[in-house]
């Protein structure tokens, strides 16, 4: 544990030092790369939160990809037909809740294997959105909000305080989730249910209800991530638009040890690697084939996080059905 902490801090210090050095060399590019890291990393961080909320209560969710795809599509579709971005965002969140409830229904009420239930969501989302999708639509997107005063701080202003509304909202959600998980009775109960549901049940906590609630709430967070993707980050929608982000998020969740802050850090690291890659490709400094450059964020993240994550332990009751009489 101690070793792990020091490694984490050393890594952070190195990153800060490198950023500082680069900033002194070329402030504009460095600032834009770090700002891009945040907006690339955020959807992954939010998607990882979906995984954390589900798995912490014992439900494996490999349908995050489907949630992202479906909710980003619905968000875009509603925003484009009503020409109202706010409607779009709310519909996306609602769509996320629907996928969450569907997963809960299959895996908790029907006691279906959770991996299969998640796969069903992924397949349905891919099929349904591809079928309904029509090219050539546009939708209103959110526009960045500069936070007065803070946005004038050099470097940090542009990175943190000149973003779209969903970035701020997403960050608030992540921090709130962290606090809730470790400092409220909801969090304590959720973790107990994911580790040893019998203890929660015998303490009067309904395992069934809490799992339903958390998987649905997680769906809402996934919907937010979807809305962010189609209505803020990209501003359009296309088939297969989420490109595996839901699966990447699962890996980041593991690297972050099922802790919201850990997953956020892992997602930001991945976002940074992606931003740097983009910059490299744009500058075309290395003359390396694009395919290899595109691999870079994945390779870098796997190497660095695999070293820093140390021994990880998933919630003990993850993926298991809870039966009272077996407790």
């Amino acid at each position: 544990m101690k070793r792990f902490l020091t490694f984490k801090w050393i890594l952070t210090l190195i990153l800060i030092a490198i950023t500082g050095y680069l900033y002194s060399r070329d402030g504009v590019i460095t600032t834009s790369v770090v700002a891009t890291a945040l907006i690339f990393g955020l959807p992954l961080a939010l998607a990882a939160m979906v995984g954390i909320m589900c798995e912490r209560t014992g439900i494996v969710n490999i349908g995050i990809e489907g949630t992202l795809l479906f909710s980003s599509f619905i968000g875009f579709f509603v925003a484009s037909t009503t020409n109202n971005g706010v409607f779009g965002i709310f519909s996306a969140i609602l769509a996320g809740v629907v996928t969450g409830l569907f997963l809960a229904f299959m895996s908790i009420s029907w006691k279906m294997d959770q991996i299969i239930a998640g796969t069903i969501i992924n397949i349905l989302a891919t099929g349904l959105t591809s079928f309904l999708y029509k090219q050539g639509h546009t939708a209103p997107t959110t526009s960045p909000i500069d936070i007065p005063f803070f946005s004038n701080i050099p470097f940090f202003g542009q990175v943190l305080f000149m973003n779209g509304p969903l970035v701020y909202f997403g960050l608030v959600v992540i921090f709130a989730l962290y606090v809730a998980l470790y400092h409220t009775s909801w969090g304590l109960r959720s973790r107990a249910v994911g580790e040893h549901p019998g203890s929660a049940d015998t303490a009067g906590v309904s395992v069934f209800r809490l799992r339903y609630l958390n998987v649905a709430l997680a769906g809402a967070v996934g919907g937010l991530a979807g809305a962010y993707l189609s209505l803020e980050l990209v501003g359009s929608w296309d088939r297969g638009f989420t490109a595996g982000k839901g699966f990447t998020a699962l890996a980041l969740m593991i690297f972050g040890r099922w802790n919201p802050m850990g997953a956020l850090a892992a997602a930001m690291f991945f976002g940074l690697a992606q931003a740097i890659t983009n910059q490299l490709m744009f500058a075309d400094v290395a003359h390396i084939p694009e395919q290899f450059v595109n691999m870079l964020p994945y390779v870098l993240t796997i190497v660095v996080l695999a070293i820093s994550a140390g021994k990880v332990r998933p919630p003990a009751a993850e993926g298991q059905q809870y039966e009272k009489e077996q407790a």
């Binding site: 580790e195 040893h196 015998t202 009067g204 003990a316 009489e325």
Partner: protein, 502 residues
């Protein structure tokens, strides 16, 4: 009708067994009712039905006259029922405090108030004389400590009906006495207590009424005034039970298990065993007596290769055993009955036949090179189930479906059925009924007489005094005295255990 708890005609079947058949029992306010019965008689099933953890097939359960719906645990809690579970309901990765407050957490605004929670746990622990460290993680704790947490959890709330399912299985005699006193006080204040135990002394000491279950049915009821321990045992088992251990003199030979200058840390990296020396000779039982937490658990785990040794060595027949390699240690002839059967003794999702060969499945006759010999496996299981009286519908049943005492018998059967040079037995009779205690004790003596060196650790001083040929008193991570069985008199051992000199 003023009965606090009224169970009427409750029946519950599991695949292949009728766990409860038409059971009717009532408990009044202020009354202590002891529920007795052999392992697998259906005691836990019955009380779990009351607490909503089992759904009976038919019958009615009323609390204060109100019908409770099957499987409604929070309803039972809301009606003032508290329960200590035989199979501890604790979250291993959480702290003692978190476990105790779970379900009814002290809050400040919307946040948990851990400071208040911690203070509450300390106060509880003080009030009931059950020592716990509020900040320790449950997974690091010995079963005795876990038992205390489980009890504190139930005592925390003001309940009207307290159900205790073998709360004393791993408590020390002093802790047990304190708990019995707590039960009397609660009953005096009007709480009804339903108490399950295999220790007849406790029944005689506190019960107002005794109900005996046999094979899922009420076999009779009595009260401590009308009978004695022998009578209770007879009612339970249906035959005469010898409560006193009968054994011949030991004929010890050369030292088989030799421990030299052993140093071992506990989970929190404090030295728990500090320079321990001990020899156990072939053909003798050495009992380790000590107050829990003086390094017994660490000693046992270090011997068996389950906990890193800092320094020192453990020899079996002159050969050094490897550190942290339980399988190798076992194959050098060391059997181990672990104190925590759920964690170290069984794979609960495996069948009984597989559990019975967990540490020898890869050897003749159970396997030939890479192929398992299912026939040999089944023969072995059939024989042991019969011999050790393991109550199960079939050898294919998973261990999780067994009653607590029968799980224990599976572990004991596996470890004592092998030809071993050393037997390390920690709490070997935890949770088993009087008839089976007699049997397990005889098996330990038989292992001794067959030339094994037996190291026995138990929270029950009586068990040690009656079985051991020599008593090693452990205090502060060392053996402070070794007494011959003849000179090991209760008072003396007790003083030595407390760290006083003789």
């Amino acid at each position: 009708m003023s009965a606090l708890l009224e169970i009427t005609n409750v029946t519950k079947t599991f695949p292949g067994v009728v766990a409860n058949e038409n059971i009717s029992i009532s408990v009044s306010a202020g009354e202590i009712v002891a529920l007795l019965g052999e392992n697998g008689a259906g005691k836990s099933t019955l009380v779990k039905s009351v607490f909503g953890m089992v759904r009976p097939d038919s019958g009615e359960i009323r609390i204060k006259g109100e019908l409770i719906s099957p499987g409604d645990t929070s309803g039972a809690i809301a009606r003032g029922v508290g329960m200590v579970h035989q199979h501890f309901q604790l979250v291993p990765v959480m702290t003692v405090t978190e476990n105790i407050i779970l379900g009814d957490e002290p809050k400040r605004g919307i946040f948990l108030n851990m400071k208040a929670a911690r203070a509450e746990v300390l106060a509880l622990s003080e009030k009931y004389g059950l020592e716990v460290d509020p900040d320790a993680f449950v997974e690091d704790l010995a079963v005795g400590t876990q038992q205390r947490i489980e009890i504190l959890k139930a005592l925390r709330k003001d309940v009207d009906l307290l159900i205790l399912d073998e709360p004393t299985a791993v408590l020390t005699p002093q802790e047990t006495d304190e708990l019995l006193q707590v039960m009397r006080n609660l009953a005096a204040s009007g709480v009804g207590v339903l108490f399950i135990t295999h220790k007849l002394r406790e029944v005689m000491a506190v019960a107002d009424r005794v109900v005996v279950l046999r094979n899922g049915r009420v076999a009779g009821s009595t009260s401590p005034k009308e009978t004695d321990e022998e009578g209770l045992a007879q009612l339970m088992v249906g035959r005469n039970v010898v409560l006193q251990v009968e054994k011949g003199d030991a004929k010890p030979e050369a030292a088989t298990l030799v421990i030299r200058e052993l140093h071992v840390n506990d989970d929190r990296k404090h030295l728990a065993v500090s320079g321990l020396n001990l020899e156990v000779r072939a053909g003798e039982i050495v009992g380790v007596a000590g107050v829990e937490g003086n390094g017994q658990r660490e000693l046992v785990e270090a011997i068996c290769g389950m906990r890193p040794r800092i320094s020192g060595e453990v020899l079996v027949s002159g050969e050094a055993t490897p550190d942290m390699h339980p399988h190798k240690v076992h194959s050098m002839g060391v059997s181990h009955i672990p104190e925590d059967r759920e964690k170290h003794g069984l794979v609960s999702s495996y069948s009984i036949e597989d559990n019975l060969v967990l540490n020898q499945f890869d050897r003749e006759p159970f396997a030939k090179s890479w192929i398992r010999n299912i026939g040999a496996l089944e023969d072995n299981a059939t024989r042991l189930v019969e011999e050790f009286d393991i109550r199960t519908p079939s050898i294919k049943t998973t261990a999780s479906a067994l009653s607590g005492g029968n799980k224990q018998k599976v572990v004991v059967a596996r470890e004592l059925s092998q030809d071993t040079r050393v037997v390390v037995a920690a709490q070997p009779t935890r949770g088993v009924d009087v008839g089976s205690i007699e049997f397990i004790h005889n098996q330990l003596i038989a292992a001794r007489d067959a030339g094994a060196a037996v190291l026995l650790v138990s929270a029950e001083l009586d068990e040690i005094l009656s079985l051991a040929d020599r008593v090693a008193v452990m205090f502060g991570g060392k053996i402070v005295a070794i007494l011959d069985a003849k000179e090991a008199e209760r008072g003396l051992v007790g003083r030595l255990m407390a760290g006083l000199s003789a």
